[in-house]
Protein backbone atom coordinates (compact mmCIF):
# COMPACT_ATOMS: atom_id res chain seq x y z
CA UNK A 1 0.00 0.00 0.00
CA UNK A 2 2.14 2.86 1.15
CA UNK A 3 5.35 3.24 3.10
CA UNK A 4 5.44 3.45 6.83
CA UNK A 5 8.02 4.99 9.05
CA UNK A 6 9.43 2.95 11.89
CA UNK A 7 9.83 -0.70 12.62
CA UNK A 8 8.56 -3.06 9.96
CA UNK A 9 8.49 -6.02 12.28
CA UNK A 10 5.59 -7.19 14.38
CA UNK A 11 3.89 -4.64 16.57
CA UNK A 12 3.55 -7.19 19.36
CA UNK A 13 6.85 -6.56 21.21
CA UNK A 14 6.20 -2.85 21.28
CA UNK A 15 2.73 -3.37 22.64
CA UNK A 16 3.86 -5.77 25.35
CA UNK A 17 6.82 -3.60 26.28
CA UNK A 18 4.55 -0.59 26.59
CA UNK A 19 2.46 -2.54 29.06
CA UNK A 20 5.43 -3.98 30.94
CA UNK A 21 7.17 -0.61 31.15
CA UNK A 22 3.88 0.89 32.21
CA UNK A 23 3.71 -1.65 35.01
CA UNK A 24 7.33 -1.00 35.99
CA UNK A 25 6.59 2.70 36.03
CA UNK A 26 3.89 2.17 38.62
CA UNK A 27 6.42 0.54 40.90
CA UNK A 28 9.18 3.02 40.16
CA UNK A 29 6.91 6.02 40.46
CA UNK A 30 5.68 4.82 43.84
CA UNK A 31 9.32 4.42 44.94
CA UNK A 32 10.17 7.80 43.55
CA UNK A 33 7.26 9.36 45.39
CA UNK A 34 8.29 7.94 48.73
CA UNK A 35 11.85 9.03 48.35
CA UNK A 36 11.25 12.47 46.96
CA UNK A 37 7.80 13.68 47.84
CA UNK A 38 6.27 11.72 50.73
CA UNK A 39 8.11 13.77 53.31
CA UNK A 40 8.68 17.29 51.98
CA UNK A 41 11.64 17.76 54.31
CA UNK A 42 13.65 14.78 53.15
CA UNK A 43 15.48 13.88 50.02
CA UNK A 44 15.92 17.32 48.59
CA UNK A 45 19.24 18.36 49.99
CA UNK A 46 22.34 17.99 47.84
CA UNK A 47 23.96 15.92 50.56
CA UNK A 48 21.10 13.47 50.63
CA UNK A 49 21.15 13.12 46.89
CA UNK A 50 24.89 12.73 46.88
CA UNK A 51 24.75 10.04 49.51
CA UNK A 52 22.04 8.16 47.68
CA UNK A 53 23.70 8.43 44.33
CA UNK A 54 26.86 6.82 45.58
CA UNK A 55 24.97 3.69 46.32
CA UNK A 56 25.08 1.34 43.26
CA UNK A 57 21.53 0.13 43.93
CA UNK A 58 20.23 3.67 43.71
CA UNK A 59 22.18 4.14 40.52
CA UNK A 60 20.49 1.10 39.14
CA UNK A 61 17.11 2.40 40.26
CA UNK A 62 17.59 5.74 38.53
CA UNK A 63 19.03 4.18 35.40
CA UNK A 64 15.99 1.94 35.15
CA UNK A 65 13.70 4.84 35.84
CA UNK A 66 15.09 7.01 33.10
CA UNK A 67 15.32 4.20 30.57
CA UNK A 68 11.89 2.83 31.21
CA UNK A 69 10.26 6.23 31.56
CA UNK A 70 11.80 7.60 28.40
CA UNK A 71 11.04 4.55 26.38
CA UNK A 72 7.48 4.35 27.63
CA UNK A 73 6.75 8.02 27.18
CA UNK A 74 8.33 8.37 23.77
CA UNK A 75 7.09 5.08 22.40
CA UNK A 76 3.62 6.02 23.63
CA UNK A 77 3.89 9.40 21.97
CA UNK A 78 5.05 7.83 18.72
CA UNK A 79 2.11 5.44 19.01
CA UNK A 80 -0.26 8.37 19.14
CA UNK A 81 1.34 9.97 16.10
CA UNK A 82 1.13 6.71 14.22
CA UNK A 83 -2.63 6.75 14.59
CA UNK A 84 -2.72 9.59 12.10
CA UNK A 85 -2.14 9.40 8.40
CA UNK A 86 0.89 11.52 7.66
CA UNK A 87 3.00 12.31 4.65
CA UNK A 88 6.19 10.22 4.81
CA UNK A 89 8.32 13.34 5.22
CA UNK A 90 6.30 14.48 8.20
CA UNK A 91 6.27 11.13 9.89
CA UNK A 92 9.96 10.65 9.27
CA UNK A 93 10.67 14.02 10.86
CA UNK A 94 8.56 13.26 13.91
CA UNK A 95 10.10 9.82 14.23
CA UNK A 96 13.54 11.38 13.97
CA UNK A 97 12.80 13.99 16.61
CA UNK A 98 11.45 11.32 18.96
CA UNK A 99 14.43 9.00 18.48
CA UNK A 100 17.01 11.79 18.70
CA UNK A 101 15.44 13.40 21.74
CA UNK A 102 15.20 9.97 23.31
CA UNK A 103 18.89 9.36 22.76
CA UNK A 104 19.82 12.86 23.87
CA UNK A 105 17.81 12.74 27.10
CA UNK A 106 19.04 9.26 27.82
CA UNK A 107 22.69 10.17 27.35
CA UNK A 108 22.20 13.27 29.45
CA UNK A 109 20.43 11.33 32.18
CA UNK A 110 22.85 8.42 32.22
CA UNK A 111 25.78 10.83 32.25
CA UNK A 112 24.34 12.67 35.21
CA UNK A 113 23.62 9.52 37.15
CA UNK A 114 27.04 8.01 36.47
CA UNK A 115 28.88 11.22 37.27
CA UNK A 116 28.25 10.71 40.95
Amino acid sequence: MYKHTGSRGSGAPGWVLQRITGLLLVIVVIGHYFVMHADPASGHTYAAVLERMHHPLWKMFDLTFITVGLWHGLNGTWGIFRDYKMKPAVSLTIYGVIILSGIAFWVLGVNTILSF
Binding site: H4, S10, G11, A12, W15, G79, D83, K85
Partner: protein, 235 residues
Protein backbone atom coordinates in the same frame (compact mmCIF):
# COMPACT_ATOMS: atom_id res chain seq x y z
CA UNK B 1 -48.07 11.22 18.90
CA UNK B 2 -45.99 13.49 16.73
CA UNK B 3 -42.26 13.07 16.46
CA UNK B 4 -39.74 15.23 14.64
CA UNK B 5 -36.97 13.66 12.63
CA UNK B 6 -34.05 15.87 11.75
CA UNK B 7 -32.46 14.06 8.86
CA UNK B 8 -29.17 14.80 7.18
CA UNK B 9 -29.80 15.01 3.45
CA UNK B 10 -27.35 14.97 0.59
CA UNK B 11 -27.95 14.32 -3.06
CA UNK B 12 -24.73 14.63 -5.06
CA UNK B 13 -26.70 15.45 -8.18
CA UNK B 14 -28.17 18.53 -6.55
CA UNK B 15 -26.40 19.55 -3.36
CA UNK B 16 -22.87 20.79 -2.90
CA UNK B 17 -22.88 19.70 0.72
CA UNK B 18 -25.09 17.93 3.25
CA UNK B 19 -27.84 19.82 5.06
CA UNK B 20 -30.55 18.96 7.56
CA UNK B 21 -34.25 18.68 6.89
CA UNK B 22 -36.99 18.18 9.47
CA UNK B 23 -40.01 15.96 9.05
CA UNK B 24 -42.88 15.60 11.49
CA UNK B 25 -44.19 12.05 11.54
CA UNK B 26 -46.96 10.26 13.38
CA UNK B 27 -45.91 7.44 15.70
CA UNK B 28 -48.39 4.94 17.12
CA UNK B 29 -46.51 4.37 20.35
CA UNK B 30 -43.00 4.47 21.68
CA UNK B 31 -42.32 0.96 20.42
CA UNK B 32 -42.21 2.17 16.85
CA UNK B 33 -38.96 1.48 15.05
CA UNK B 34 -36.95 4.39 13.70
CA UNK B 35 -36.94 2.45 10.41
CA UNK B 36 -40.75 2.58 10.31
CA UNK B 37 -40.59 6.34 10.74
CA UNK B 38 -38.05 6.68 7.93
CA UNK B 39 -40.39 4.60 5.78
CA UNK B 40 -43.22 6.89 6.73
CA UNK B 41 -41.22 9.84 5.46
CA UNK B 42 -40.30 8.03 2.27
CA UNK B 43 -43.73 6.59 1.54
CA UNK B 44 -45.82 9.57 2.59
CA UNK B 45 -43.84 12.76 2.30
CA UNK B 46 -40.71 12.49 0.29
CA UNK B 47 -39.83 9.54 -1.92
CA UNK B 48 -36.35 10.87 -2.50
CA UNK B 49 -35.22 10.05 1.03
CA UNK B 50 -32.70 7.29 0.50
CA UNK B 51 -31.48 4.62 2.91
CA UNK B 52 -30.68 0.92 2.85
CA UNK B 53 -32.76 -1.67 4.67
CA UNK B 54 -33.91 -5.19 4.23
CA UNK B 55 -34.79 -7.53 7.11
CA UNK B 56 -36.23 -4.89 9.47
CA UNK B 57 -35.27 -6.86 12.56
CA UNK B 58 -31.58 -6.47 13.03
CA UNK B 59 -30.22 -9.53 11.24
CA UNK B 60 -29.05 -8.28 7.83
CA UNK B 61 -26.94 -5.27 8.80
CA UNK B 62 -28.20 -2.96 6.04
CA UNK B 63 -29.34 0.02 8.02
CA UNK B 64 -26.51 1.15 10.25
CA UNK B 65 -27.01 4.90 10.71
CA UNK B 66 -26.27 7.53 13.31
CA UNK B 67 -29.17 8.35 15.60
CA UNK B 68 -28.69 11.22 18.05
CA UNK B 69 -24.95 10.84 17.70
CA UNK B 70 -24.86 7.07 18.23
CA UNK B 71 -24.27 4.45 15.58
CA UNK B 72 -27.25 2.09 15.58
CA UNK B 73 -29.54 0.05 13.36
CA UNK B 74 -32.65 1.95 12.35
CA UNK B 75 -34.68 -1.25 12.61
CA UNK B 76 -33.51 -2.16 16.10
CA UNK B 77 -33.85 1.27 17.63
CA UNK B 78 -37.26 2.07 19.00
CA UNK B 79 -38.56 5.49 19.85
CA UNK B 80 -38.31 4.70 23.54
CA UNK B 81 -34.55 4.12 23.11
CA UNK B 82 -34.03 7.77 22.22
CA UNK B 83 -35.27 11.10 23.48
CA UNK B 84 -38.17 11.66 21.12
CA UNK B 85 -39.48 14.77 22.78
CA UNK B 86 -36.77 16.64 20.96
CA UNK B 87 -36.03 16.29 17.24
CA UNK B 88 -34.29 12.99 16.61
CA UNK B 89 -31.11 13.62 14.66
CA UNK B 90 -30.51 11.06 11.93
CA UNK B 91 -27.26 11.01 9.98
CA UNK B 92 -25.26 8.57 7.93
CA UNK B 93 -22.49 6.60 9.62
CA UNK B 94 -19.58 8.94 10.25
CA UNK B 95 -16.13 8.93 8.70
CA UNK B 96 -16.90 7.01 5.52
CA UNK B 97 -17.90 8.66 2.25
CA UNK B 98 -21.57 9.53 1.83
CA UNK B 99 -23.16 8.48 -1.45
CA UNK B 100 -26.62 9.89 -0.91
CA UNK B 101 -28.65 10.79 2.19
CA UNK B 102 -28.08 7.94 4.65
CA UNK B 103 -26.27 5.68 2.20
CA UNK B 104 -22.52 5.41 2.68
CA UNK B 105 -19.84 3.82 0.58
CA UNK B 106 -19.06 0.50 2.25
CA UNK B 107 -16.47 -0.72 -0.25
CA UNK B 108 -13.51 0.11 1.96
CA UNK B 109 -15.17 -1.65 4.88
CA UNK B 110 -15.64 -4.78 2.79
CA UNK B 111 -12.08 -4.59 1.47
CA UNK B 112 -10.73 -4.67 5.02
CA UNK B 113 -13.01 -7.58 5.83
CA UNK B 114 -11.59 -9.50 2.88
CA UNK B 115 -8.04 -8.63 3.94
CA UNK B 116 -8.16 -10.97 6.94
CA UNK B 117 -8.98 -14.00 4.75
CA UNK B 118 -12.48 -14.40 6.13
CA UNK B 119 -12.91 -18.07 5.27
CA UNK B 120 -11.84 -21.32 6.77
CA UNK B 121 -8.65 -22.85 5.47
CA UNK B 122 -8.04 -26.49 6.20
CA UNK B 123 -6.01 -28.38 3.67
CA UNK B 124 -5.93 -31.73 5.41
CA UNK B 125 -8.35 -34.17 3.78
CA UNK B 126 -11.68 -33.96 5.58
CA UNK B 127 -13.01 -36.99 7.45
CA UNK B 128 -16.20 -38.62 6.23
CA UNK B 129 -18.09 -37.18 9.14
CA UNK B 130 -17.94 -33.66 10.51
CA UNK B 131 -14.70 -32.36 12.02
CA UNK B 132 -15.28 -32.76 15.71
CA UNK B 133 -15.11 -29.74 17.92
CA UNK B 134 -16.07 -29.45 21.57
CA UNK B 135 -19.07 -27.33 22.36
CA UNK B 136 -16.83 -25.09 24.44
CA UNK B 137 -14.57 -24.49 21.45
CA UNK B 138 -17.58 -23.89 19.22
CA UNK B 139 -19.07 -21.42 21.64
CA UNK B 140 -15.85 -19.42 21.66
CA UNK B 141 -16.71 -18.52 18.08
CA UNK B 142 -20.39 -17.77 18.42
CA UNK B 143 -20.15 -14.23 19.67
CA UNK B 144 -17.80 -13.25 16.86
CA UNK B 145 -19.87 -15.16 14.30
CA UNK B 146 -22.89 -13.03 15.20
CA UNK B 147 -21.46 -10.06 13.32
CA UNK B 148 -23.78 -8.73 10.61
CA UNK B 149 -21.19 -6.45 8.96
CA UNK B 150 -23.19 -3.31 9.67
CA UNK B 151 -20.07 -1.15 10.17
CA UNK B 152 -21.47 0.56 13.26
CA UNK B 153 -18.32 -0.38 15.16
CA UNK B 154 -15.63 0.55 12.68
CA UNK B 155 -17.18 3.92 11.95
CA UNK B 156 -17.40 4.72 15.67
CA UNK B 157 -13.73 4.02 16.32
CA UNK B 158 -11.51 7.07 16.91
CA UNK B 159 -8.58 5.22 15.37
CA UNK B 160 -10.61 4.83 12.17
CA UNK B 161 -11.42 8.50 12.20
CA UNK B 162 -7.78 9.54 12.41
CA UNK B 163 -6.51 6.92 9.96
CA UNK B 164 -8.93 5.59 7.39
CA UNK B 165 -6.47 2.83 6.56
CA UNK B 166 -6.89 1.36 10.04
CA UNK B 167 -8.27 -2.11 9.52
CA UNK B 168 -10.98 -1.52 12.09
CA UNK B 169 -12.72 -3.60 14.73
CA UNK B 170 -15.10 -5.47 12.41
CA UNK B 171 -12.27 -6.96 10.37
CA UNK B 172 -10.32 -7.76 13.52
CA UNK B 173 -13.37 -9.54 14.90
CA UNK B 174 -13.57 -11.58 11.71
CA UNK B 175 -9.90 -12.46 12.09
CA UNK B 176 -10.67 -13.70 15.59
CA UNK B 177 -13.56 -15.76 14.27
CA UNK B 178 -11.12 -17.86 12.23
CA UNK B 179 -7.89 -17.63 14.22
CA UNK B 180 -9.66 -19.17 17.20
CA UNK B 181 -11.50 -21.83 15.21
CA UNK B 182 -9.92 -25.16 16.15
CA UNK B 183 -10.60 -26.40 12.62
CA UNK B 184 -8.66 -23.66 10.87
CA UNK B 185 -5.07 -23.85 9.67
CA UNK B 186 -4.36 -20.35 8.40
CA UNK B 187 -4.09 -18.48 11.68
CA UNK B 188 -0.58 -17.34 10.84
CA UNK B 189 -1.53 -15.65 7.59
CA UNK B 190 -4.40 -13.88 9.27
CA UNK B 191 -2.22 -12.77 12.15
CA UNK B 192 0.23 -11.39 9.58
CA UNK B 193 -2.61 -9.51 7.93
CA UNK B 194 -3.58 -7.73 11.15
CA UNK B 195 -0.04 -7.23 12.48
CA UNK B 196 0.73 -4.24 10.27
CA UNK B 197 1.26 -0.54 10.93
CA UNK B 198 -2.43 0.06 10.07
CA UNK B 199 -3.47 -3.08 11.86
CA UNK B 200 -4.42 -4.25 15.29
CA UNK B 201 -1.96 -2.05 17.22
CA UNK B 202 -3.91 1.02 16.26
CA UNK B 203 -6.60 -0.19 18.64
CA UNK B 204 -6.18 1.49 22.01
CA UNK B 205 -8.99 -0.23 23.80
CA UNK B 206 -11.23 2.80 23.70
CA UNK B 207 -14.42 0.68 23.72
CA UNK B 208 -16.40 2.92 21.34
CA UNK B 209 -16.93 -0.07 19.10
CA UNK B 210 -18.39 -2.16 21.90
CA UNK B 211 -20.83 0.56 22.71
CA UNK B 212 -21.86 0.87 19.07
CA UNK B 213 -22.34 -2.79 18.20
CA UNK B 214 -26.04 -3.57 17.83
CA UNK B 215 -25.40 -7.28 18.27
CA UNK B 216 -23.81 -6.62 21.64
CA UNK B 217 -20.51 -8.12 20.64
CA UNK B 218 -17.65 -7.34 22.97
CA UNK B 219 -15.23 -6.43 20.21
CA UNK B 220 -12.52 -5.15 22.49
CA UNK B 221 -12.34 -8.46 24.31
CA UNK B 222 -11.98 -10.31 21.03
CA UNK B 223 -9.34 -7.87 19.81
CA UNK B 224 -7.35 -8.28 23.00
CA UNK B 225 -7.45 -12.06 22.57
CA UNK B 226 -5.92 -11.53 19.17
CA UNK B 227 -3.27 -9.22 20.62
CA UNK B 228 -2.41 -11.87 23.18
CA UNK B 229 -2.21 -14.52 20.50
CA UNK B 230 0.08 -12.31 18.45
CA UNK B 231 2.28 -11.62 21.43
CA UNK B 232 2.58 -15.32 22.18
CA UNK B 233 3.55 -15.91 18.60
CA UNK B 234 6.18 -13.19 18.50
CA UNK B 235 7.82 -13.83 21.84
Amino acid sequence: MKVTLRIQRYNPERDSEPYYQEFIVEAGDEKERILDLLHQVKWKFDGTLTFRRSCAHGVCGSDGIRINGRNRLACSTLLRDVNYRKPIVIEPLPSIPIIKDLIVDMSDFYRKYEAVKPYMVNNSPPPEHERYQSNDDAEKLFESAKCILCACCTTSCPSSWSDDNYIGPAALLKAYRFVFDTRDEAADERLDAVDTPDGIWRCHTIFNCVEACPKEINLTWHISQLKKRLTEREM
